[in-house]
Each structure stands twice: as C-alpha cells, then as structure tokens.
Amino acid sequence: MTTRLEVEAPGLKLRVSAGEIVTLLGANGAGKTTLLRAIMGFEALAGRICLDGRELGSTPPFRRNRLGIGYCPEGRRVFPRMTVRENLIVAARSRAPTRLADILELFPALAARERALAGQLSGGEQQMLAMGRALMTEPRLLLLDEPSLGLSPQLTNAVMSRLRDIAARGTAVLMAEQNAANALAVADRAYLLRLGQIVREGPAAELRADPALEEAFLGG
C-alpha cells in the first residue's frame, strides 16, 4: 500500500495509506476538526503535512484539492441555492457525466432528487451530497468530518458502508467521528486525540475489543 498522507507535529504523528479507512476519535474540543482543516489548508499547523511524499507547506486549499484531497466538512455545507446536480457537477474536474453517473450510483437517494435545491434536502441527503461533491473531484485522500452527525442509525450505516466502497477503490479515507462504535466498525485503524495530541493509536479491531474504550471516548 502506498502512503498517501503523513502528518507530523508536536505530539501528533499520523499516516493514512491508499485503500485504508482511518478514524480520528476524541471528544469535542479534542482537535479533530482542526486537524482535518489543517490538512485541507484552512488552518495553519505547526508541523509538516505531506501528500504522496510531497510537502504541502503553504499550498492553498483549492490547489490541495487539485492535488487529490477531498473534504467533506462538519455540517455538510452543501451549496444551498444550487440543485443536487449543480452541486455535483460544479465539483467535477473532467469527465463530468461519467463521474456524475458513478456518484448517483453510489448514492441512489441523490439520483431521485437530482433537480431539488440542496438547501431543501434532509440532513442525511445533504450528508450524501457533501460526500458525493467531494468524490466528484476524484480525490486520492478523502477527509470526512463527523459524517454521522445528526443521522439516524440506519442512515449512518448506509454512509459507513459507502465509505468501504470508496476505500475499496483505492482512496485513502481519514474520518473524524465522535460516535466511536460506528467509526470503529468501519475503520481499519484509529487514532485517539486529546487536546490536539494523539494519546492512543492502533488497529480498529484492537480498540473495538478494548473495554476501556467507552471511558476513552465518552471521557474527555
């Protein structure tokens, strides 16, 4: 497996490889969102961020996307006054029709609402749209911030199983989640964050089996 992403900062060393789902766990304020935003270039990080061995430095967010990082933010942030179709196609770099067909196949719920304004979708549909939008840019690394936030368990399951499909195609996935059980069920590896530092890491199966886990993520 080729290593896609490496992050090195004080108290923080993290790596995500192609085809792998890695989850960041931790309570509110643990620094998950900040880390993802730093990888996307929205925030500064005192450290090094490398994509495919290339240091990103001060590369602006739109160039990072063109280098292969897709970002699906907390709270979805779809373009509310654009239709589902427009939200997706505007993100396409090339081969828009093929890409669009792929994404609609991956998220059949969106296909049914292609002409609806994104602002009028339900929370779950918006989440899928935000993921679809990020995938339209053909990322080699997909960043997801709280993808299950506000979704029913059923929808969460649907979203998580889509993630497996995405990873199976060779995309590296880095996801921040508060719902540890959901995240660990789908992830290969996990990092536990606290106050912006990694306090624990390991294969998801190992963390799943750990009885101290509940303390770890319900506790600060």
């Binding site: 929205f42 739109f62 996307n65 897709g70 933010p73 006054r81 654009m82 505007v90 990020a134 840019t137």
Partner: protein
C-alpha cells in the same frame, strides 16, 4: 404615451445592470462596492471618449466599453479589495469610496464638470409604430440590456463557470475545497460587475448625459434595487430596478397619460421619489428581507 413607458423600461433596464453588477460583487466578495455608481459614470465617459476617437454607433462601442471596464474592475479589486481581504467590512466601504472619489475627480479633470452626451446606440431617429412613434434609442437600450441580462442568466444557469461563481458566492471555503480558485472568481466578479456598470453607463449616456458627479445617484439606485429585490437574485434586482424606474419616469408623467389627473405638486419628480422611498420603507417593514427573501442563504 407608449414613449413614456419605453423610457421607463429603458431606465429600468440600465438600473438593473448596475444593480446586478453591484450584487455580483457583494455576494462573491462579501463586500459592498461603493464605487459601483462611479463605475457607471466611468463607463459613460469611456463611451464618450471612444466615440470621439471613433465616431460609430454606441452598439459598436459596447464590446470595447465592456473590455475597458472589466480591466478597471480588476484594478479596483487589486487596489481596494484584495489588500483588505479578511479585514473589517467597513474598511472596504471606505477603500471603494476612495476609488470612487478618484474616478469622479479623474473624470472631472479629464472631461470637465459639464454634462456630456454619449453616442446613441443606433443611428437614426424614431420608429413609427402606427400612430405612435418611439425613439430608437430607448428601444435599443431595452434590447441591449435585455440581451446582457439574458446572457448573465445563461452564464449562471447553464455554464460550469457560472456555477463556480455561484458556488463561490454561497460558501467560499467549500468552493475552495472542490478546487475552485476563489481568488480568481472574486477578481472575475469585480471585472464582470464593473463591465455591467459600464455598459449601463454607455446605455444611459445618450439620453441622460453623463456628469462626473453622477456616481452617487446610480449607487443609491442600485442599492435600493438590490435590497428590495432581496440581495442576490437576478429576478429580484430586475424587479427592484423596474420599481425604481416606474416611480422615476412613469409616475411624474401620469397627468400626461391620464388627462383627468391635474398637473400639480402631486406628480412632480420629487413627490415621486418621496413616494418611492415610502414604498421602500413599507416593503422593509412588511418584508424585512426584501421582496424575494434573501436569495443567498446564510449558514446557521
């Protein structure tokens, strides 16, 4: 009678262009461009200058005016917006006011304070439509503006580039996250906004003349149109512009149109403007977010 309506429509069409240029920048850059009115004035003078060099109908000059104004718009963004990006919005009020002052006084230094007439859009006088005759100018203004507005509508509704502009206006960070070069989109919005304002300047310069101090008036009209129209949709801005022009041109002519009405202080331009502002205040009281609601949803 029809001529009055045509004049009103022509004015509305031009105001709509000014308003669209203004709201385009307001949404993309999240900045109030106080120089928009002066850009209209500048467009008028560019047309005057070009027609002196090259005496052809205004419609031929339109592409040149659009191009010159687009460059001016880029320059405006480079000196008054980008250095202050991320700073308090009030700083950008003042920087664009400053550029407006430079434009106004620049025009004054070059062309003098006297009103100048721009070139007519088409040569020739009036078109006879049965018993009524309509001035070619007002028809040409309406058609030209309508074509520009439709082109804009096409850009935003059909072209990927237009979608990128809309995405930038709705959420700059997310636009960047899907690879859109937001800086370039904002610069382009300034260019387009200035070009639209300049086009309005050309359209208005023949019938209404152009004077260096015109800017403020156009600025006020654009602002009213945009706020009434709900800050963001093409439809809203056009509706707002129509309302303003209706009061400005049609209302004072009511005694001409309806002979039963007395010619009195009730139908002066002043009264019309007062009523217009009264209507604006009423609209704001009843619909605090404009007639068509806020088109660009704010994130919670």
């Amino acid at each position: 009678m029809l001529q009055v309506l045509a004049n009103g429509l022509a004015l509305a069409a031009a105001y709509a262009l000014v308003a669209l240029g203004f709201v385009l920048v307001a949404n993309a850059a999240n900045a109030v461009n106080f120089a928009q009115g002066d850009l209209v004035m500048a467009g008028g003078f560019v047309a005057v200058a070009l027609s002196r060099l090259w005496p052809v109908p205004g419609i031929v000059l339109l592409p040149a005016v659009l191009a010159v104004m687009a460059v001016l718009g880029l320059a405006l963004s480079a000196i008054a917006y980008f250095p202050l990006r991320g700073r308090p919005a009030t700083a950008i009020f003042v920087s664009t006011i400053a550029v407006g002052l430079m434009l106004e006084n620049g025009a004054n230094a070059i062309f003098g304070a006297e009103p100048q007439a721009g070139p007519p859009l088409l040569p020739g006088a009036a078109i006879a439509l049965g018993p009524v005759s309509l001035s070619r100018q007002s028809i040409a203004v309406i058609v030209t503006a309508a074509v520009l507005i439709l082109a804009l509508e096409f850009l935003f509704a059909r072209l990927r580039f237009g979608w990128r502009l809309r995405a930038t206006a709705q959420d700059r960070e997310m636009a960047a996250s899907i690879g859109i070069d937001v800086t370039w989109m904002i610069a382009f919005s300034f260019a387009l906004g200035a070009a639209l304002g300049g086009a309005a300047g050309l359209l208005l310069a023949n019938s209404f003349f152009v004077t260096p101090t015109d800017g403020i008036n156009y600025m006020l009209k654009a602002y009213i149109a945009v706020v009434i129209g709900g800050w963001g949709s093409i439809r809203g801005a056009v509706a707002g512009a129509l309302l303003i022009a209706l009061f400005e041109v049609v209302y004072p002519s009511l005694p001409l149109l309806v002979p039963a009405l007395p010619v009195s202080w009730l139908f002066t331009e002043t009264t019309a403007t007062i009523i217009l502002y009264g209507v604006v205040l009423a609209v704001l009281l009843l619909r605090p977010r404009g007639l068509f609601g806020e088109a660009v949803l704010r994130r919670a």
